[in-house]
Amino acid sequence: MELSRPLSVITPTLDGDVLRVLALADADFTSGDIHRVLDGPSIRGIHNTLGRLTEQGIVSRRPAGRANLYRLNREHLAAPYVIGLARLRDELLDRLRSEVRAWPAPPLVGALFGSAARRDHSPQSDIDILLVRPDDASDDIWDDLADSLSALVTAWTGNDCRTLTFTQSQVQDRGANEPVLEDVVREGMAFHGDLQWLASAVKGRSAGRSPGRGKAS
């Protein structure tokens, strides 16, 4: 699936993109507002799509001066399903959170990164997951858990999934020299744990420093 265009699982057309915008806010939109959010399709294409969707009743239209305002009709039979599809990335994060919380040794941090966290994800993209393993977690059990998580994500999305594991000590000792951890801090989406802890380690603030002293120990 394409996490940045989740309705493309059922339609490759602009209808899916427009429905996603309308589903994610209980608000009125002009066609110009939708054009700004989507940042790509033509305003004529958006206007035609809105006309089609209004005919179907899933979108309601009302005049406002010289413009029309469009809104998802949340009373429509199809509305809950459209909203659910629009929120598929949140659903993925929720499932990842539930899954790792049940582990015998949950990660200190779990985060999506790479294209799945950015807005350039395609159906061919991998889903990259960072896991920070507690130092006292068993290697064998951890490897099995990470592999099984990866298989679950592939089943849920159709995308290959790669997990990248750092131990707690590795993050604290060399986090400042790991470009991939900088990427996670900059654009990752945490589903478990605190990205601020990771950010501190990557920026070399906590490694070798005692909190509250204000200088390296």
């Binding site: 940045s4 996603r20 915008v21 994610l24 806010a25 209980d26 608000a27 009125d28 939109f29 110009g32 507002d33 939708i34 054009h35 700004r36 959010v37 940042d39 990335r89 949140d90 994060l93 966290a117 807005r119 900059r186 654009e187 990752g188 989406m189 945490a190 990205l195 601020q196 950010a199 501190s200 603030r205 906590s206 909190p211 509250g212 002293r213 204000g214």
Partner: protein
């Protein structure tokens, strides 16, 4: 809709996103190196407010195509509520602290600072997840 809004551009989105992360990072850094949280509570609360406002702008821009403009707190909260009422409550928490932290002589309590930190984190995380 009663709030004054401004149309968003890609430059506005990236600029507000960068500021949200910068303010949030500064909040965490100052707290980490302070001898006592109480020594920096007002400064950190003010940073949390600015991080939250910038994050709210990102969320509104990427979801609605427009963001709130001006000092009308109610308008800003109502606009964000059309996206997510939980996030709007977090923004309200921060905006309620803005005057106290930045302009009054009374210090922010540690409880209020923790609440501000949680609200800020929720908004900044949501801005990252925004489409």
């Amino acid at each position: 809709m009663t709030s004054r809004t401004r149309k968003c551009t890609p430059a506005i989105v990236s600029g507000r996103r960068r500021k949200a992360e910068q303010f949030a990072d500064a909040f965490a850094t100052i707290l980490e190196f302070a001898d006592e949280p109480g020594d920096v509570s007002d400064a950190c609360a003010t940073l949390a407010v600015h991080a939250g406002i910038a994050a709210a702008d990102v969320i509104c821009c990427t979801t609605l195509g427009r963001h709130h403009q001006g000092e009308d707190h109610r308008g800003a909260i109502d606009l964000l509520a059309s996206v997510d009422t939980g996030l709007a409550r977090h923004l309200k928490t921060l905006l309620d602290l803005k005057t106290l932290a930045g302009y009054s002589h009374d210090p922010i309590t540690l409880a209020a600072l923790k609440k501000a930190g949680r609200a800020m984190t929720a908004l900044v995380d949501a801005a990252r997840r925004a489409p």
